[in-house]
Amino acid sequence: MIKVKINGQEQSWDGDPDLPLLWFLRDEAGLTGTKFGCGQALCGACTVIVDKEAVRSCITSINDVAGREVTTIEGLHPNGDHPVQKAWRQVNVPQCGFCQAGQIMQAAALLMDNPKPSHDQIREAMSGNICRCGCYQRIENAVHLASTGV
């Protein structure tokens, strides 16, 4: 039996320990905010925060996070008012919106690590997250805004 804390709640799993965390979150725990985009850690749509680090849940097995604390987009802030979320809305970042949960989680992890990133640091830290609609200019601006106070 694998136990993991997701958004502050204890969850357990007694199935395949190799099951990617992504599919546990989406299909077993019903937390569909975390998205499937590539399955190979190439696009970042599935990004969640494990302890204080951004990870790609599509290549992280449920066993890898046993005993650890996972935060998904649903658990980032109780009212959805994390500075990154607020900045995202202020800048009107999303087009289709599908990649945005992963982008937001990546940005939140970046700001935990580096509260005042430069534009180049933002670009580097966010480069693992693909947006096919091409919202990059706004993503960069929103992360900058979140880091300077929304």
Binding site: D16, F24, D27, G37, C38, W88, N92
Partner: protein, 770 residues
């Protein structure tokens, strides 16, 4: 904002109006609302378009009926239906916003509901072709104005005053003389008893009184849900008892399953069943390819199970498709005469007599859509009834195809439209929903079919592959006197019928035969090209290779004549005029030429605007270059300037992009900017990386590692969008697609300016590193 409100310009469109006698019950059911604003009398008479569009000629035309699109609840909540699919353009906000504007509803008290697929009830629902705003601006205003009029009439009756003395203002109706006011909610029940006013009697708002339209200050309705993970896309649908499926499909288009061994797959924890999926012979429009499905308790188990399948395929006739060999075929075909699709003057003779002839062969490979959300659908088939939840651009078409595939009446099929995690034309084809329907029927349980990214890349309806060959004949003064353009590319028509070897009128009309330059001798030709895989619409469609070729050739002419790119471009566009190419059955994005002519004054204007705002001719550092391109598509006019920087290792960056767009009258400039910013990214992806290749009939790429798209660290440092203010008589035109085509040629012209290297073959790849 300017709208045409001049009734003198009305054109007859009566035959296209549809009045559906929808029962009260079905309206209530459709809107999921109890009580409220539901009307009895269907009194629609004619569709009073102030300008003509092609909306009425779309399947099922246009429905202008407030009873279908609007409901007012007793608590004042106004519910407006969005009948088009949201894939990132903002249409799910923009169309209801138009209704709210005309209706004087307070946007804060408006709830948007997504319409299910029912074109008889809602009119055409195909969300493609950059059409939604251009076809629905006036109908949505009329729907809003009808609702407003009924609320005003109800208030006037309540107070016993003439309707002319009352006015709806911000969610209430006001009697100015007495100062009395009644909220929309208080009037809902009475308004429901009013008859629907005739369209020609409707008084539309004066644009100067607009609160929302043209302002760009309303965020998209899904903004909060998207940022909190609550927004529901196709894959987010969960039903009780739902099974999860992935499918192994034939690796070659038209291939067949010979045998399969499910044993190892069935041993994977969580896998419940392995079953065959029916496939259709190629081409079969959007019917599934067939294959073997693995059914499991979650998607991860299904994928692992699929990996364990032992499969033997017969590749069939397309097993020899090879991109390297096929490119040679296309190039050879482009060097020989083909079907003449536009002819003015005598291009052959003029080329022979020219002082100089420039020849460019421009190659664009197949492209995959790779929307961030791979295809996915949920189906629940019970007996002769089917319910689908899917991110589809064409819910009406999906409903038809599900009914046909299952052999049940269309009325028994419900198609619920989720948010689309990107579409770009891929989700106009509902094959993934048909797969889910077939599996659910067989399983007797609800099922979700999830495509992996590998499935998406390998089994897409790809953008066509093409060679565009242009010969430009110049006289001694450098003036272009002859233009011969041969376009060779397998047609989208090949996905619908076997043996199609010529491009369809709608493909020829995307930058080939509508080429707007003022040249005396023009020949456009379309040599044959056979298809060996599924070809489909990709955002901007044939405009991508055409703009790349035509606008690159402009850069080549500028260089050959020692002139400025922009001046060369304006000289080729020529005098301000309406271009009327000598083309039979000329296609104009489905729009009448009267409302949407090829207007070189507007084409010139976007060039001049982008040159001014984008500081054309500015000094740039060493290793940088500026390039410009313009293209009319989806009846909009777009010009782009790209500044590129190429370092000594051939690595490219894009410090600045400027784009000017003339899309006529517009609704939401903020979303126009986001579409154009995104188009620069997609344009850069096409130019830099976009390439799907085939070997032995199989796609050689699989995921974002070998089919790359642009990431944030290589995106333009800044993209500026400049929107042309509409003239008083300018109908709305496309926004979603037209931003993409000018990007690649502007970039290639910039690269030439920076390095002296002319790139005629996309993608750029490592060509600058050589």
């Amino acid at each position: 904002m300017n709208f045409i409100d001049n009734p003198g310009k009305l054109r007859g469109f009566e035959k296209n109006i549809r009045v559906e006698k929808v029962s009260r019950r079905s309206i209530l059911k459709g809107l999921g609302i109890t009580g409220g604003f539901v009307l009895a009398a269907p009194v629609m008479s004619r569709q009073a378009f102030a300008y003509e569009t092609g909306a009425g000629k779309m399947p099922h035309g246009v429905v202008i009926d407030p009873r279908v699109f609007v409901a007012v609840a007793p608590d004042g909540t106004v519910t407006i239906l969005a009948h088009r699919a949201e894939m990132g353009t903002g249409v799910r906000t923009s169309l209801p916003l138009i209704v709210a504007e005309e209706m004087e509803a307070d946007w804060a008290r408006v709830k948007v509901e997504q319409a299910h697929g029912d074109e008889v009830k809602f009119g055409n629902q195909d969300t493609d072709g950059s059409r939604s705003t251009r076809h629905y601006l006036i109908p949505m205003r009329q729907i809003g104005a009808s609702a407003r009029t009924m609320l005003e009439q109800a208030a006037a009756k309540r107070w016993g005053v003439p309707a002319t003395e009352v006015k709806a203002v911000n969610h209430e109706v006001v009697h100015g003389a007495s100062g009395r006011k009644l909220g929309f909610g208080e009037l809902a029940a009475d308004a429901a008893k009013e008859s629907v006013p005739s369209i020609e009697g409707l008084k539309l708002k004066d644009p100067k009184d607009f609160r929302y339209l043209g302002k760009g200050q309303v965020g998209i309705v899904d903004l909060h849900d998207i940022t909190t993970g609550k927004a529901r896309y196709g894959a987010d649908v969960r039903l009780p008892g739902m099974k999860y499926a992935v499918i192994a499909r034939p690796p070659v288009t038209g291939g067949k399953l010979v045998k399969f061994d499910p044993d190892a797959a069935l041993k994977v924890p969580g896998v419940e069943k392995v079953m065959q999926v029916r496939g259709w012979p190629w081409p079969s429009k959007f019917q599934p390819l067939g294959g073997v499905a693995v059914i499991a308790r979650n998607t991860g188990a299904a994928i692992k199970g699929r990996d364990a399948l032992k499969l033997t395929w017969d590749d069939g006739a397309n097993g020899k498709y090879d991109s390297v060999a096929y490119r040679k075929e296309l190039e050879e075909a482009s060097r020989k005469p083909g079907l003449v699709v536009r002819q003015e003057g005598d291009a052959e003779a003029a080329l022979k007599g020219a002082d100089k002839v420039l020849v460019g062969e421009y190659y664009l490979p197949h492209l995959a859509h790779v929307s961030m959300e791979p295809p996915v659908a949920v189906a629940d088939v019970k007996g002769d009834k089917a319910e689908i939840w899917a991110p589809v651009q064409s819910p009406g078409g999906t409903r038809e195809d599900v009914a046909k595939t299952l052999g049940i009446p269309e009325g028994n099929v419900t198609v619920n439209v989720t948010l689309l995690g990107g579409g770009f034309g891929r989700k106009s084809k509902c094959d993934f929903a048909l797969e889910a329907a077939l599996l659910s029927k067989e399983l007797g349980a609800p099922v979700k079919v999830q495509w992996t990214r590998e499935d998406d890349v390998r089994h897409d309806f790809l953008h066509t592959v093409s060679v565009e060959r242009i010969e430009a004949g110049l006289d001694k003064s450098g003036k272009v006197i002859a233009w011969r353009h041969r376009s060779v590319a397998p047609s989208i028509a090949s996905t619908f019928a076997a043996g199609e070897k010529h491009e369809a009128p709608f493909e020829l009309g995307m930058g080939l035969v509508d080429m707007p330059f003022e040249i005396a001798n023009i020949s456009c030709e379309n040599p044959e090209a056979a298809a060996f895989t599924r070809i489909g619409w990709f955002r901007s469609v044939s405009n991508i290779p055409r703009a790349f070729a035509v606008q690159s050739m402009v850069g080549e002419i500028a260089h050959a004549t020692g002139r400025d790119q922009k001046e060369t471009l304006l000289a080729l566009i020529g005098s301000p005029r309406i271009v009327k190419p000598a083309v039979k059955d000329m296609w104009n994005y489905g729009e009448p030429f009267d409302s949407y002519p090829i207007d070189t004054a507007r084409l010139r204007k976007v060039v001049e605007l982008v040159a001014e705002k984008g500081e054309w001719g500015r000094q740039v550092p060493k290793g940088h270059g500026l390039g410009i391109a313009v293209h009319r598509s989806f009846v909009s006019y777009i010009a782009t300037i790209v500044e590129v920087a190429v370092d000594d290792k051939g690595k490219l960056t894009v410090p600045r992009v400027d784009t000017a767009i003339d899309c006529g009258t517009y609704v939401n400039p903020e979303r126009i900017a986001s579409q154009i910013e995104g188009a620069a990214i997609m344009g850069l992806s096409v130019a830099k990386y976009g390439e799907i290749t085939f070997k032995d009939g199989k796609v050689e790429q699989k995921n974002f590692d070998d089919f790359q798209v642009v990431r944030i660290d290589e995106s333009p440092t800044v993209t500026n969008v400049h929107i042309v203010p509409p003239g008083p008589d300018t109908p709305p035109s496309g926004v979603g697609e037209p931003g993409v085509p000018p990007f690649a040629p502007a970039l290639m012209n910039a690269i030439f300016a920076a390095t002296g290297k002319r790139i005629r073959s996309l993608p750029l790849g490592k060509q600058l590193e050589a």
